[in-house]
Symmetry: C2
Subunit: 378 residues, 2 copies
């Protein structure tokens, strides 16, 4: 039914799980002896195995990027407008792989998984993972899928950071890196907002030091607050003004602290929806991975030296109203690549939708992705 | 002793309290039968009573704007760098009055005061007050002090909103309105951040629906979070980068959720310091007063019509990196004033310190204030 209504959707997809028994040494010094990666694929791998595209998800994303998991799903995957037959990332041409990151709550090994050493779920004992760790685990997944090199690795926000990391960690395995609404490291302001979000979770009495599942509690209030804070940084001042202005839920002033302005009610809705689908320990891990990402750190803080080892072609995209990862942050990446004579295209898209723009079907943006993917040889 | 070390400080000041027994009808429809306003004064009222300047405080401010209350105070009042002998607001020339707003927690009647109808402290039963209510109560204070007209009413942020309101509510009682880092109404984004701050307080189990004093609890975590969120909106991305960058508290990565980046530790310090001096119910009230302020609402959303009744001269000041109340918001005010042929000077000060700039002794800014006050006839 969905296939009829959405002719260009990939339709019904079923996630797969890859069990990797090779130990993974993490940046933290800890080791995962074995782990599972939950992933979805769209399209068909060609016989030469050269048409695979890796999609890396952002903070609150997962492996379900496109299509529907069940016939009665009300919403498709988070990047469905971008991935499908005749969509910018055309699944008639490409084989798309989207894994859930380690530490996630979508099915890959993470805080909700059973800790083999205790027999209970990991909870807060799941080790802190980094962007590098994710790329390593994704490389093991690629090995299992016998994908020697990706036609492209693509992601927005934290996903774009993974695409960057892939390009320098495995230059021979990435032919194109598509880095959207990202940065080579968080700004102080970014870290500060992450910290406030974490404090909201950590301060929730139902958090129980992360052992909330064992205690049968859920740090709903803290996670909701964290999401509301994060969500605000995804939207622009202008976009919010255009969408909600100072509209009231009721024409009379309540003189109370209930949700009186439309934007208050919207934020609460966003927060409530999030706590039903996301895990607080994962939220903590994901924000810390963002904080820690800084590939230039081991190259004397010189991003040009960091990117020198890359051999991919790059497409870097930013959005005019994105103040979380502003166009200036993308231009830093572009300048570093140009300095090393890398092949890089850059586009700043006019949009009032802030950081969230990368998820939206903005015509200029989708046209650029379409053309770029059309130019990729498989 | 302080006077020796700070030759231009107003020195030791003692707050005064004005008891007003005339009932105050509030915007909410409620009435305060009587109330107290705690205030400080600096300088000397001249015999013609024409040299008085009213300072209106912002969200977290109070009546203690300048000098020291005790000889061993470590810090002076919040606008001490601006107010004093030979300072921009020169107390050799002017008599400065700074009241704590109704609903505040600095000594004026507010949630911490005794509710005459119950004999217990008001707590959450203190009525929601508005900028208009504050100006009315300040006008009663002016009556008591026998100040018929203010040489100037000045404030930054929420204080600037009060100066605006004074200029239209009492055009004959304000000769100069100095509106700094303010806006004629909150943007959607401003309201959203206020809402998140309130949710942080309301969700704290120690908040007890505002009856925390009776229950002997304190919503420390919620108020701390609220302050951290607010504080982030006072600072600019560039300012934070210059001050903290990605500096660590320890050179080794902790792989934990402790305060690892300097900015995290700074934010926590700011939050902790705030909860020791501020009341959660007051925080809720103050943010709501900000949300509700919209003097153009009763003039068909036309700020030009709103400002038409003003007769003061205006000085409007904004700061380049202020994204809470950006220069664009100040320019809206200026345009409305120009439209009605008001006498208005406007200055956008280059500063990387964001909204907080209005509290800082930035040379260009202080020079403009100095010159402006020198030009005021008393």
């Amino acid at each position: 039914m969905r296939n009829d209504k959405n002719k260009e959707s990939v339709g019904i997809v079923t996630p797969a799980t890859c069990v990797i028994n090779e130990p993974l040494s993490l940046d933290s010094g800890e080791t995962l002896e074995s782990y599972e990666i939950c992933y979805e694929t769209y399209g068909t791998l060609n016989s030469a195995r050269t048409n695979a595209v890796l999609i890396c998800h952002a903070l609150s994303g997962d492996h379900h990027a496109a299509g529907y998991n069940r016939i009665d799903d009300r919403k498709p995957g988070w990047w469905d407008n971008c991935i499908g037959p005749n969509r910018p990332l055309d699944t008639n041409k490409f084989f798309v792989v989207c894994p859930n990151n380690l530490g996630g709550c979508g099915g890959s090994t993470g805080p909700l998984s059973k800790n083999p050493s205790s027999g209970k779920c990991y909870g807060p004992d799941f080790p802190i993972v980094t962007v590098r760790d994710w790329v390593e685990s994704q490389a093991r997944l690629a090995d299992e899928l016998r994908i020697e090199s990706w036609a492209a690795v693509m992601g927005g926000s934290l996903g774009g950071m993974q695409a960057l990391q892939w390009s320098v960690a495995y230059p021979n395995r990435v032919r194109n890196a598509i880095v959207i609404a990202a940065a080579s490291k968080l700004s102080t302001q970014n870290i500060a907002f992450n910290e406030i979000s974490r404090q909201a979770i950590l301060a929730d009495p139902n958090f129980n030091n992360g052992h909330y599942n064992e205690k049968n509690t859920t740090p709903t209030d803290g996670l909701k607050l964290a999401r509301m804070i994060g969500h605000m940084t995804y939207l622009s001042d202008d976009g919010l003004r255009a969408k909600f202005g100072r509209e009231r839920t009721d024409k009379n002033t309540s003189f109370s602290f209930g949700a009186e302005f439309e934007v208050e009610s919207y934020l609460q809705y966003q927060g409530d929806a999030f706590v039903n689908r996301f895990d607080a320990n994962t939220y903590l891990l994901m924000t810390r991975a963002l904080d820690y990402f800084d590939p230039a750190q081991n190259h004397g803080d010189d991003l040009r030296k960091t990117m020198a080892s890359a051999s991919a072609r790059f497409l870097v995209v930013s959005f005019s109203s994105d103040w979380r990862f502003s166009p200036a942050r993308s231009r830093e990446i572009v300048r570093s690549l140009l300095y090393s004579n890398k092949d890089v295209s850059y586009c700043e898209i006019e949009s009032e939708f802030g950081h969230d723009s990368f998820l939206l079907p903005i015509p200029d943006y989708h046209q650029i992705l379409t053309k770029y993917f059309q130019g990729i040889c498989t």
